[in-house]
């Protein structure tokens, strides 16, 4: 019981802390790749604290409600990950949060929010089946959806599920809002969609969505860590290499449209998962 409380608290603290630091490192590495110097590591924290200290301006009460729901769902799913709970349950709670963010954007009449929200729905449609398939693969290998069982597994899952790890990579790229999939918030192209999904969130509520996003970053990197759960060094190396590749892909690729995303991600994701699942079943 005591250890559970510790795990819950560590999940709630580690989410924003780790997520913010990872985001800061991300911005520095991105800047270096573009031969710039980049902001300090703590820049994401300055941004969020500044936003928390700004005036509350709400276009719609529902939007504020949705921002709270999003951060609640994101933090609960990370805490459940720390409690080594059920993978499927975590996925569904995380999906509820993502949908609340969309509803919040849809509750405003701004065309930028609306278009961003529709694109975000398509992104959710693209990555959710892939995450479920990855979970199914993990289940077929270990015989359990419980994270505790996966972490206790004797050999690294990556050796048995290499293609499913690639599939997880697609989901990760979409979820981290990286190119070529940064459609809904248009992170680096303000001229196209202003800020898309997040256009009408402002001040403290924008800060809430940002902290929620940090929770999700840590959760997804946690998913990646499941694939090398036998020792800490291997796990850290796998997660670091994966995240570096994400930054690299973000910097070398152009933004594509949603039709391409849906077609490409489903075609590649579903076929790679199928190959891996057949191999696992037959082998």
């Amino acid at each position: 019981m005591m250890s559970n409380t510790v795990l819950v608290i560590s999940g709630l603290v580690a989410g924003p802390l780790l997520g913010g630091l990872i985001n800061g490192l991300d911005r520095i590495i991105t800047a270096r790749l573009q031969s710039r110097i980049g902001p300090p590591v703590l820049q994401p924290f300055y941004d969020v604290i500044k936003l928390l200290g700004k005036e509350k301006m709400v276009v719609n009460v529902w939007q504020a409600f949705c921002a709270y729901c999003y951060i609640a769902a994101a933090s609960i799913s990370l805490v459940m990950f720390f409690l080594r709970s059920d993978l499927l349950l975590i996925l569904f709670i995380q999906a509820v949060g993502a949908v609340f963010l969309v509803i919040g954007a849809l509750s405003s009449t701004s065309p930028f929010s609306q278009v961003g929200a529709h694109r975000e729905l398509l992104q959710i449609l693209s990555y959710e089946p892939l995450l479920v398939l990855v979970t199914v693969g993990v289940y077929l290998e270990t015989g359990s959806f419980k994270i505790a069982t996966v972490y206790a597994w004797s050999e690294p899952l990556l050796l048995k599920l290499p293609f499913l790890y690639l599939v997880l990579g697609y989901a990760l790229t979409i979820k981290l809002r990286k190119s070529p999939f940064d459609l809904s918030t248009s992170h680096h192209a303000h001229q196209e969609l202003v800020k898309g999904l997040l256009t009408d969130y402002s001040g403290p509520f924008l800060a809430l969505t940002e902290i929620g996003h940090w929770f999700e970053i840590v959760l997804l990197l946690g998913f990646c860590s499941l694939f090398w759960a036998t020792n800490w060094v291997g796990m850290m190396i796998l997660v670091a290499v994966t995240y570096f590749l994400e930054i690299l892909i973000d910097n070398v690729s152009a933004r594509m449209n949603w039709r391409w995303m849906l077609g490409y991600v489903w075609a590649m994701g579903l076929s790679l998962s199928l190959v891996n699942l057949i191999w696992l079943y037959a082998g």
């Binding site: 710039r36 980049g38 300055y46 200290g53 005036e55 303000h190 202003v194 800020k195 001040g203 924008l206």
Partner: protein, 151 residues
């Protein structure tokens, strides 16, 4: 102590919104020059946002006239407090060479409160960066509760 930390964060993370009130584009090109990787203003946490809801500092260039007055006021009102306005170039300061024209209202400060004036025709990128840094100092006297809406 928390207030002090918010104050520090405001200075460390100013997000810019740039509005061009019918300028000749000279000042706008200089503003965009500041945003290029040469100066790499992300070092100071500055991000160019296209959204008044997210912005902290409003950069205004060009003359205010009867047409774009509404737009400028609207943008200013949509920015959550605390906010700083930096007027850039002779036209934004006083109307410049267009001040006698029938549709020009004069400087930006006729419409919204201006915190920093950056003169020049066009203003140099170094002067603009200097103006934004002076604008950061103005955050010290401001807080989220004040209501400074334009008329």
């Amino acid at each position: 102590m928390f207030k002090k930390f918010i104050q520090k964060s405001r200075i460390k993370s100013p997000w810019l919104l740039h509005y061009d009130c019918s300028s000749c584009n000279g000042c706008d090109i200089e503003v965009l020059a500041c945003l290029t990787p040469v100066y790499d203003i992300e070092r100071f946490g500055i991000i160019n946002v296209g959204n008044p809801f997210h912005a902290d500092i409003l950069l205004v260039t060009g003359t205010v006239n009867l047409r774009n007055r509404k737009v400028l006021v609207n943008l200013f009102d949509q920015m959550p407090n605390p906010k700083v306005v930096v007027a850039i170039g002779s036209c934004a300061l006083s109307g410049g060479i267009f001040r006698e024209t029938y549709n020009v209202l004069g400087g930006v400060d006729k419409v919204i409160p201006v915190d920093v004036y950056v003169p020049g025709c066009p203003a140099k990128p170094e002067a603009i960066i200097d103006g934004v840094v002076m604008g950061l100092d103005k955050f010290k006297g401001k807080n989220a509760e004040e209501k400074s809406h334009a008329g």
